[in-house]
Amino acid sequence: MHVAVCIKQVPDTAEVKIDPETNTLVRAGIESMANPYDMTALEEALRLKDKYGAKVTALSMGPPQADSVLRQALSMGADDAVLLSDRAFAGADTLATSYTLSKAIETLGLAQPVDLVLCGKQAIDGDTAQTGPGIAERLGLTQFTYVIDVESIDPDTRRVRVRRKVDGGFEVISGRLPALLSVELELATPRRASLPMLIDSFRAPIKIWDAKAINASLDLVGLKGSPTWVKAIASPQVHRAGPKWDAAQGLSQAVSAAMDTLFSDENFAAAFQKGWKP
C-alpha cells in the first residue's frame, strides 16, 4: 500500500496581526510550522505503515525552505519526501494548488500506485478546506472529509471504512480505494521523533520536483492557474465600543448602569422579559 500525505508549511497564525493604524502586518519573529491538521494526517499514515506496512510519501508545495516540514515528516517515519518547488508555482490559490498536488500524486503513482491520499481538513493560515476535495475530484478518488477514525482498510477487497464528523453526529461510511481522506485533529496525536530518526532526517535527500517533473501545464499552476486574487487586506472591523464601568468604583452602580445601557432598547428589553419568545 502506498500512502501520500500532503503537508503545508504555514506561519504560526496566532502571531500574525495587522497594525490597525498603519494597516501593515506585524510578523515579528513569526515562525513557520507544519500545518497541525496535516501532521495529524501524517500520524495516521504512519499508523497505517505500522499496521499494514504501507509506504508513506510526504508531499509539500512551497519555496525551498519548506523542506523543513518534510524533514519533520521523515523524522517521524515517512519513507520518502518530495518538495514541489518551482517559481511557476508561486501565487497559487486552492484551484492551482490542487492541480499541482494532483499532478505530483500522479507522478508518484508511476513508480508505485497511490492507494490513499491523506491531508488535513484545512490549513490554519487559509482555513479554506478546499484543497483536499479538489485533489479527490481531479484524481477521481473516493472522497472522505472530516475523518475522525479510520476503522479499517481491507487490502484485498480494496475498501476503506471511516468514521467522519457530520452535523449532529458521526457517519460511518466505506468506499473503494484509491481514496482521499481529509482529517480532523481528533484523529491522532502526532508522534515525537526518536533522536536517531531526527538526526537522520537532516541528512536525508529531499526530492525537489518542478513543473516539468510532474508534467504540469504552466497555464494551470501558480498565479496563472489561479482564478482568485487578493485585492486587499485589512484588520477585522471592530464596532460598537459602548460605555464601560469600573466595578471598583461601586459594584452595584456599575452593574445597573451596564444593564440600563443594554436594555435601553425597548424591543430588546421586552424580548428578554418574554424569555425571547416571539
Partner: protein
C-alpha cells in the same frame, strides 16, 4: 544509538553556535542540541552584538545577510534621578567608516536562527525541541555524551560543550557549577516598543541603518543595584531594566512595574512616545563576575558562555564573551581531536586560552566591580539626586554670585554623602576597575 559525534554542544545560543561554526568549518562532526522550538526561541539579551567577535567566527557575516538591526554610532550614558538626567554622549565618525558594525543591534529570534543556519551550512547538525536531561559518563567519570528526552536519546561524543545558558540545570546537576547564587544573578526585563523607522531616525538623530545605545544608571532601579538601557532597532526600541535578584527579593519590587516607571521618566518617555509595546521578555544575567566563574574544563567536557557565568557587568558585555568562549572552546577541542586525547590534560588548554583572551582578563580586572556596586547603594539613591541638584545650582542663572552657587552645589552633594563617604566611593570605584 550507534553513531558517535566528535562534539555534542548543548544550547544553540551565541556560545554554542560559535563553537559549532568553528568546529564544523574544520571538518569536525558536530551536533548542537537545543531545547527551544528553534534557535533563539528561548533566548533574550539586551540586543547588542559585536562585529569583531562575530567576524572571528563568520568573517563575511555582513555579506551573508546577517539580520543586523542598526549599526551603533553613538553610545550614551544617562545618570537619572527622579526629576532629571545627566548625560554623556559619544559619537564618532569612525563608527560610520572603518569601525562600521563595531557594535550593532540584533533581534535574537532572527539572529540566532540565522547564526544556526550558518553552522548548518558548514555541516553542523542543529536539532531543536530536544532537552538534554543528563550527561553520560564512563566508569572513570569522564563525560562521554549526553542523554536527551527523545526515544533512543543517548548521544555519544568525544567532547561535550555546555553552552545552555545561565539556567543550566545540567551544569548544576552534574556538579560542574554551583547553582547561581541570587546575589550573582540579575533579573532583566525588556520591552520591545514598535515605532516607524523614520521616527526612530529622527528622535535619535541618525539615519539609514545607524543607531544609538543608551545605558542608564541611577534612581530608576529604585535603589537596587542595577541598570537600564535603551537600544535602537530598525523599527523598534528595546527598553530594558535589570537589577540584582537579591535586591528584587528584598525590595519586593515587581520588574514590570520598574519598566513602567522607566517609561514614564521625563528623559525616556519622549523617546518612546507613540510606540506600541510588542513583546515583553525576562531573563537572568550572570553578574557574579570573576568570582562566580566555575572550572571551565573537565574530562570530556567544557563550559562556555552564560553557563560559565561569563559576563562583564561594567561594560554590559555578554554576547561577545559567549562567542569568544565558544570559539576558544572549539579551538581547544580541535586540538584535542588532533591529539586524540579528551581528558582534562588536553582540554585544560581552554582555560589557558581563556586566560590569555580578553574574556577572563577583563573579568579578572573588574573582579571587584560586582561587590563595589553591591556595597554602594547610594549610587542608585542619593547620589543621582545630589548630582542633579548640584548641576541645577550651577546652571541656574540669576543674581546669585557664582561663589554662593558653587557652595550650595557642593552642599547638595555633601548633604547626602559625607566627604569621607564620597572619598570611599571614588576610591572603591577606582579600585574595582583598576
Amino acid at each position: 544509538m550507534e553513531e558517535k559525534f566528535d562534539v555534542a554542544i548543548v544550547g544553540a545560543g551565541p556560545a554554542g553556535i560559535s563553537a559549532a561554526c568553528v568546529l564544523a568549518d574544520r571538518g569536525a562532526k558536530v551536533i548542537v542540541v537545543e531545547r527551544g522550538e528553534y534557535p533563539g526561541s528561548k533566548n533574550m539579551f539586551g540586543g547588542v552584538l559585536y562585529g569583531q567577535s562575530l567576524g572571528r567566527v563568520i568573517p563575511d557575516y555582513a555579506q551573508k545577510s546577517c539580520p543586523i538591526e542598526r549599526n551603533i554610532v553613538e553610545s550614551r550614558i544617562s545618570y537619572l534621578s527622579e526629576e532629571g538626567s545627566i548625560g554623556f554622549a559619544y559619537r564618532d565618525q569612525a563608527f560610520f567608516g572603518k569601525l562600521h558594525n563595531n557594535a550593532f543591534t540584533v533581534g535574537r529570534a532572527k539572529f540566532d536562527r540565522w547564526f544556526a543556519e550558518q553552522a548548518r551550512a558548514k555541516g553542523a547538525l542543529v536539532v531543536c525541541s530536544t532537552v538534554v536531561t543528563d550527561l553520560l559518563r564512563d566508569g572513570a567519570g569522564r563525560v562521554i555524551g549526553v542523554k536527551t528526552d527523545r526515544a533512543d536519546g543517548e548521544l555519544h561524543a568525544k567532547v561535550v560543550l555546555l553552552a545552555d545558558g545561565i539556567n543550566s540545570p545540567l551544569a548544576v546537576k552534574s556538579g560542574f557549577r554551583p547553582e547561581a547564587r541570587p546575589e550573582s544573578v540579575a533579573l532583566a526585563v525588556k520591552e520591545l516598543i514598535e515605532l516607524p523607522e523614520e521616527v526612530i531616525d529622527e528622535r535619535f538623530g541618525v539615519s539609514a541603518g545607524n543607531g544609538v545605545t543608551i545605558e542608564i544608571l541611577g534612581s530608576v532601579t529604585l535603589g537596587m543595584n542595577g541598570v537600564a538601557f535603551v537600544y535602537t532597532n530598525r523599527r523598534s526600541i528595546s527598553l530594558g531594566i535589570g537589577a540584582n535578584l537579591c535586591d528584587f527579593a528584598k525590595q519586593r519590587v515587581r520588574p514590570y512595574e520598574m519598566i513602567e516607571r522607566l517609561k514614564l521618566h521625563p528623559a525616556i518617555s519622549p523617546l518612546i512616545k507613540g510606540g506600541k509595546p510588542r513583546e515583553y521578555l525576562a531573563h537572568w544575567l550572570p553578574e557574579g563576575g570573576w568570582e562566580s566563574v566555575p572550572k571551565l574544563f573537565h574530562d570530556g567536557l567544557l563550559i562556555a558562555g552564560d553557563s560559565a557565568m561569563l559576563f562583564n557587568a561594567l561594560h554590559r558585555e555578554g554576547s561577545n564573551l559567549a562567542m569568544t568562549s565558544g570559539r576558544l572552546a572549539a579551538e581547544t577541542i580541535l586540538h584535542a581531536l588532533e591529539k586524540g586525547d579528551f581528558t582534562s590534560r588536553t582540554l585544560k588548554g581552554y582555560a589557558a586560552r581563556m586566560e590569555e583572551s580578553f574574556v577572563l582578563k577583563d573579568l579578572k580586572k573588574y573582579r571587584r566591580f560586582p561587590s563595589f556596586l553591591k556595597t554602594h547603594g547610594e549610587l542608585f539613591t542619593t547620589l543621582p539626586r545630589g548630582a542633579l541638584e548640584a548641576l541645577r545650582e550651577i546652571l541656574t542663572v540669576d543674581d546669585t554670585p557664582k561663589e554662593t552657587r558653587r557652595k550650595s552645589a557642593w552642599r547638595a552633594i555633601r548633604g547626602r554623602l559625607t566627604p569621607l563617604g564620597l572619598l570611599r566611593l571614588l576610591f572603591d570605584a577606582w579600585r574595582s576597575i583598576r
